[in-house]
Amino acid sequence: MRILGISALFHDSAAALVVDGDVRAAAQQERFSRVKNDASFPLAAIESCLAVDGSSIDDVDHVAYFEKPHLKLERILANARACYPRGQRTFVAAMRRWAGVKAWTPSLVRQALVGLSPTGGRDLRWDGRTYFARHHASHAASAFFPSPFEDAAVLTVDGVGEWATASLAVGSLDDRGVPRLGFLEEIRYPNSLGLLYSAFTRYLGFEVNEGEYKMMGLAPYGEPRFASLIRDRFIALHGDGSFALDLGLFTFQTDEEMFGAAFEEVLGQPMRQPEAEITEFHMDVAASVQAVTEQAVEGLVRRAHERTGRRHLCLAGGVALNCVANGRILRSGPFDDVWVQPAAGDAGGALGAALLCWHHQLGGRRPRRGHGRQDGMHGARLGPAFDDDRCADALREAGLAYEKLDPPALVDSVADLLCQGHVVGWFQGRMEFGPRALGGRSILADPRSSEMQRVVNLRVKFRESFRPLAPSVLRERVEEWFELAGREGSILGGPGEGYDSPYMLLVAPVATGRRRQVLPGTEPAGLARIHVPRSEVPACTHVDGSARVQTVAADDDPLYHALLSAFAERTGVPVLLNTSFNVRGEPIVCTPEDAVGCFLATEIDALALGGLLARKPAR
């Protein structure tokens, strides 16, 4: 039984293919169209998922869509009525968009998929009806169904779906062993933690739905001196974990902009213009919003525990990509385990809708998994893979010399290059689903170099120097290097065992013994703080001594695990700097041709393209 899941027409369009409950393939449209956060109907992503499976659209039994578009339209209409006469221009613009495309989503889906049929739709197994899941139900499904838990609280938090902006559910197995979600309660538009975060992202001069990571990365540079102001004036946090925005300060109900003059007046400064200098004020605002967001998320988590009494927590929705908040939840409890869907944003809704159709509509069970703590995401390596012949063609086409190596020789050569301070493009196997590069489409470097953070940000990725870079670490040695541990009842790693963080969605402090003291009086001001070494792996240690950790287990990714092991043998450090294989403003590379293009346009020194290794002359 094949189910195609689709997320489209908002941002981060994506497709996912679920076969008999197994997540067979998933990919974001942006990787194929090369348009960041592409919202268009994900035809290329659908074709890719089907190609991975070796099937065609004719073989698909059901089609699931990640939200109920007409329910969303209801919210827009209700909002326009409530705000009338303000926001008429925005409303008209929205209605034009809806009248043109979105209102016709059911027929758009049908027409697009019939257009992919090799038989012109004559032999479609699908009956033409689309299974529409609510937006937050799709998020919740993407969080619970592939999680390692049979029983869990499920919390979803984002900007807005149809009406809900946060929802709470409980996931469990029914008496036939079929996983089920029971939805308990929700917080509705316009009260939205995601929109609060996005409004401040915009205020700091970053792009909404893209710059949130930047604000999160900027936060540790500042002091949260505006946190109480934000709690007093912008968002009220209630004792039961719910919250309410002061709608007088936000304009997203009536305008394309998130806020207006009143918002700026409260903060005492106008918004930062993009590319303008980042001052201490901006860092402090970022720190304050992050602090309030973490406090709000903790309130939601507390509520989830009170309402469900479960020991494990699953998270999804855009706010679940806030890995600083996720790390704090894991450390502070009360849940024994926290598992975050790696494609927690709207792309993951495609997968959630397909899984919801399989389990809820069709009553299907989860497929058998390898071991008790294994999730159903296949390491998030759900995109296309390319063989060495295709890789060789891409290199030859670009006029690049290369050598073909077997896996042990490739690992040895790349480990040697990394030890010599070279930056290596690592293009291996299937592409990741979700915003993080996990060893399939990564740029790797030696984390021991205090210069490497600057080199990678400025000369390889052409992005802001303050952006932190993340470490990959051998799973079995994570606790030697990071304060990332579970508790007594944890499934994903107990005390002394470290904790599974395969999707780079948990931030943890670098282990005390690995940290370096910064001498009093030597701390520079502002963004220059990133250049002060703070640990034995300074290139991937943030200014507050934390790191966004990816654990790599041999079962999950043998080749990447072997590379980390080879680097550890040479250096004693089982850690590599791992950042996504792209440059600023572009999606992560998908094909060998994308990777070669990125390699040539940047100061990446070597490219491991499948089993082929290409090098540039030394810098």
Binding site: Y65, K68, P69, H70, L71, L73, E74, R75, L77, A78, N79, R81, A82, C83, A103, W104, T105, P106, S107, R129, T130, Y131, F132, A133, R134, W163, A164, S167, F183, L184, E185, E186, I187, R188, Y189, P190, N191, A236, H238, D240, G241, S242, F243, A244, D246, L247, Q253, R303, C357, H360, Q361
Partner: protein, 49 residues
């Protein structure tokens, strides 16, 4: 054509419903009250509404 007519009718009905002010109103929640709400009952799985 039947489907288009049906969708248009549903949209018109929705608009009318809201103009008559008989549904949820954003921004009407006092800042001090809990904003948790019951999850509305599911419409049919093949309904876009």
């Amino acid at each position: 054509m039947t489907r288009i007519r049906s969708t248009l009718a549903r949209l018109a009905f929705t608009a009318l419903f809201h103009v008559l002010g008989r549904t949820r109103r954003p921004g009407a929640v006092p800042a001090t009250a809990s904003t948790w709400r019951e999850v509305p009952p599911e419409t049919g799985p093949f309904e876009a509404y």
